[in-house]
C-alpha cells in the first residue's frame, strides 16, 4: 500500500556537535519544507525532544557527553514511535548496526549526501504514516469489538429474560393444570355423588391456590431490590423459631424435625423476618426431601468459624441428582414437581446475599444433603440482645 507522507510529519530535531553541519543541514531541510530545531549535544537535544516532541530526530552518533547511542536509547524509551535517523562517520559500521538494533529507523554516513538524507526522511515519514494508520485501524477494531460485545450482551440479556418468562409460564401452566383438575374433580364428585372425589378436588384447588400465592410472593421478593434493616439477633433463636413453625408440617409428613441443642451460640446482623423466611425455605425443602425416605429426619444446627456463622439444615433424603445439584440456584428449577415454585432457593440465596452472606450446600446423595445459610459473624451485643423481639 503506497502511503503519502502527510505534512504533519515534518517536525525534525537535528542534534550534532558540529556547528557547520547543523547550519548546513537545517538550511537544506528548511528549504525542503521541514520545521527544524537544532541542538549542539545530547543533553540539550534531550531537553528539546521533551519540549517539542518532534516527529523525526536526526542525531550524530559521536558526541561528547550523552552520545548518539545513549540518546537513541533514551528517546526510544520515552517515545517508541519516534523515528530516529543516525549519522555515522565513514567506517563506523559497528555503531551503525548497534543503532539499528536499538530501533533506529535508518543511518546515513558522513559526508552527508542530500539524496540519501531525503530518502531516509521519506522512509521515516512513511513509517510514521503507517503507524498512525495502524493505530486508527486498531482503535476502529476496538470500537467494533466493544460494539459487538455490547450487542452480544444485549442478546444474552434478552435470552435470559425469554428463558425466565418461559419458565414462569411453565410454572403457571402447571398450577393451572392443578386448578383445572381440581375443579373437574369437584364437579365430577358432586355429579356422581362421590364425596371423596369432590373432597380430593377441593384439596387440589386449595393446594394450587397456595402454590400460586407462593409463586407471586417469591416473585415479588425476588424482583424487589432492597437493603435489609439490620439488627443483632441470636441465630439459635431464629433456628428454634423455624423448627417450631414447621414442626406440624414435618410431623404430618412423617419426618422427625429437630434442633441440635448442643449448637454454639452465634450472633449476626439480620432483618429477622427476611432471614426467618429464607431459613424456613431451607427447612421446608429438607422436610420435603426427608419425606421421600423411611424414617426421614431433618436436623437444624447453628455453627461458626472465624468471621462467619451459619445455620445448617441437614436431611437424610435421597440427596440431589447431579443435574439437579447444578441447577438448584436457577430460577424455576424445582425437584419437587407440584410442591415447588422453583424460586424458593433463589429467594433464600438473594436474602443471604443482601446480608453479606450466601447459601451453601453439600450433596451427600444418596444419603441426603446439607444446606447452610452463612452470614457474617458479630460479637454478642453488650445488652445480651435486648433488641430482639
Amino acid at each position: 500500500m503506497a502511503v503519502q507522507a502527510p505534512p504533519a510529519y515534518r517536525r525534525v530535531l537535528l542534534i550534532d556537535d558540529e556547528p557547520g553541519i547543523r547550519r548546513m543541514m537545517s538550511l537544506d531541510l528548511q528549504g525542503e519544507g521541514y520545521e527544524v530545531t537544532t541542538a549542539p549535544n545530547g543533553e540539550t537535544g534531550l531537553a528539546a525532544f521533551r519540549r517539542l516532541n518532534p516527529d523525526i530526530v536526526i542525531t550524530d552518533l559521536k558526541m561528547p557527553g550523552i552520545d548518539g547511542i545513549e540518546l537513541l536509547g533514551r528517546i526510544k524509551l520515552m517515545s517508541p514511535d519516534t523515528e530516529v535517523i543516525v549519522i555515522t562517520g565513514h567506517g563506523d559500521m559497528e555503531l551503525a548496526i548497534k543503532s539499528l538494533q536499538l530501533d533506529a529507523s535508518d543511518f546515513i554516513t558522513k559526508p552527508i549526501n542530500d539524496e540519501a538524507l531525503y530518502v531516509a526522511l521519506k522512509r521515516a515519514q512513511d513509517r510514521l504514516a503507517l503507524k498512525a494508520e495502524l493505530r486508527s485501524y486498531t482503535h476502529e477494531l476496538e470500537d467494533k469489538v466493544a460494539e459487538a460485545t455490547e450487542k452480544a450482551l444485549a442478546v444474552e440479556r434478552l435470552a435470559a429474560v425469554g428463558q425466565t418468562v418461559s419458565s414462569l409460564v411453565h410454572s403457571i401452566k402447571n398450577i393451572l393444570s392443578g386448578l383445572r383438575g381440581g375443579s373437574y374433580m369437584v364437579e365430577e364428585g358432586i355429579g356422581s355423588l362421590r364425596a371423596e372425589v369432590a373432597g380430593q378436588g377441593l384439596s387440589m384447588v386449595n393446594r394450587n391456590i397456595r402454590r400460586l400465592a407462593d409463586l407471586v410472593r417469591d416473585l415479588l421478593t425476588f424482583c424487589k431490590p432492597r437493603t435489609p434493616e439490620l439488627s443483632p439477633h441470636l441465630l439459635n433463636d431464629l433456628a428454634a423459631e423455624a423448627v417450631q413453625n414447621l414442626a406440624a408440617e414435618a410431623e404430618e409428613r412423617g419426618v422427625r424435625l429437630e434442633l441440635d441443642s448442643s449448637s454454639r451460640r452465634a450472633w449476626a446482623l439480620v432483618e429477622r423476618p427476611a432471614v426467618l423466611d429464607a431459613l424456613m425455605n431451607l427447612v421446608s425443602n429438607a422436610v420435603d426431601a426427608a419425606a421421600e425416605v423411611e424414617q426421614g429426619r431433618v436436623t437444624v444446627a447453628v455453627g461458626g468459624r472465624g468471621q462467619e456463622v451459619w445455620i445448617s439444615v441437614a436431611d437424610n433424603g435421597p440427596g440431589l441428582e447431579p443435574e439437579a445439584a447444578q441447577k438448584i440456584f436457577q430460577g424455576f428449577f424445582s425437584t419437587k414437581g407440584a410442591a415447588g415454585t422453583g424460586l424458593g432457593l433463589m429467594v433464600s440465596q438473594k436474602t443471604a446475599c443482601e446480608h453479606g452472606g450466601r447459601v451453601e450446600f453439600e450433596n451427600r446423595a444418596p444419603d441426603g444433603a446439607v444446606f447452610c445459610l452463612v452470614l457474617p459473624a458479630i460479637e454478642p451485643p453488650p445488652d445480651g440482645g435486648g433488641a430482639n423481639p
Binding site: N174, S177, G178, R180, Y184, E188, R207, G337, A338
Partner: protein, 130 residues
C-alpha cells in the same frame, strides 16, 4: 373389557385428575411419576394408550416417547402428549433429536397443551381407543 391407559406425569395433581377423568369414563388408569417408571410399567403390562408429560425429572417424556417409538413391542401404542410446552417446541426438539440420533420418530397421535380440558382430552382418548 376396559381399555388400559398409562398416565405419566410428575405432578401428583395432574396424575390424580387425569386418572379420575379416565376411570369415570370407563377406562382403567395406571400412573407413573416419570419416564423411567413409565417405561418399567410399559414393560410389565400391556397398555392401550399412554398420556405423557414432557418435562419431568429423572427421565423426560421426550426420552420415553423416543424409547417407545424405537421399541417394536411398544411403538404401536397410541400416545397423547399432555405438556406445558407448545406443540411446535416439542416437535422441533424431536426433529433436532432425529437429526442428531439419525433416527426418525413419528409425531405423537395427539398433543394437548396444559391445562388439559377434560372434554378435549376425552375426545382424543375416545378417538384413539374408544
Amino acid at each position: 373389557m376396559a381399555k388400559k391407559v398409562l398416565v405419566v406425569d410428575d405432578e401428583m395433581d395432574v396424575r390424580t385428575y387425569i386418572s379420575t377423568l379416565l376411570e369415570s369414563n370407563g377406562f382403567k388408569a395406571t400412573v407413573a411419576e416419570n419416564g423411567e417408571q413409565g417405561l418399567a410399567k410399559l414393560k410389565e403390562a400391556r397398555f392401550d394408550l399412554v398420556t405423557l408429560d414432557v418435562m419431568m425429572p429423572k427421565e423426560s417424556g421426550i426420552k420415553l416417547y423416543r424409547e417407545m417409538k424405537n421399541d417394536p413391542e411398544l411403538s404401536a401404542i397410541p400416545t397423547i402428549i399432555i405438556s406445558g410446552l407448545a406443540k411446535k417446541t416439542f416437535l422441533h426438539s424431536q426433529k433436532v433429536l432425529d437429526k442428531f440420533k439419525g433416527q426418525q420418530v413419528p409425531e405423537p397421535d395427539a398433543y394437548i397443551e396444559k391445562p388439559a380440558e377434560p372434554e378435549e382430552l376425552l375426545v382424543e382418548v375416545k378417538r384413539l381407543v374408544g
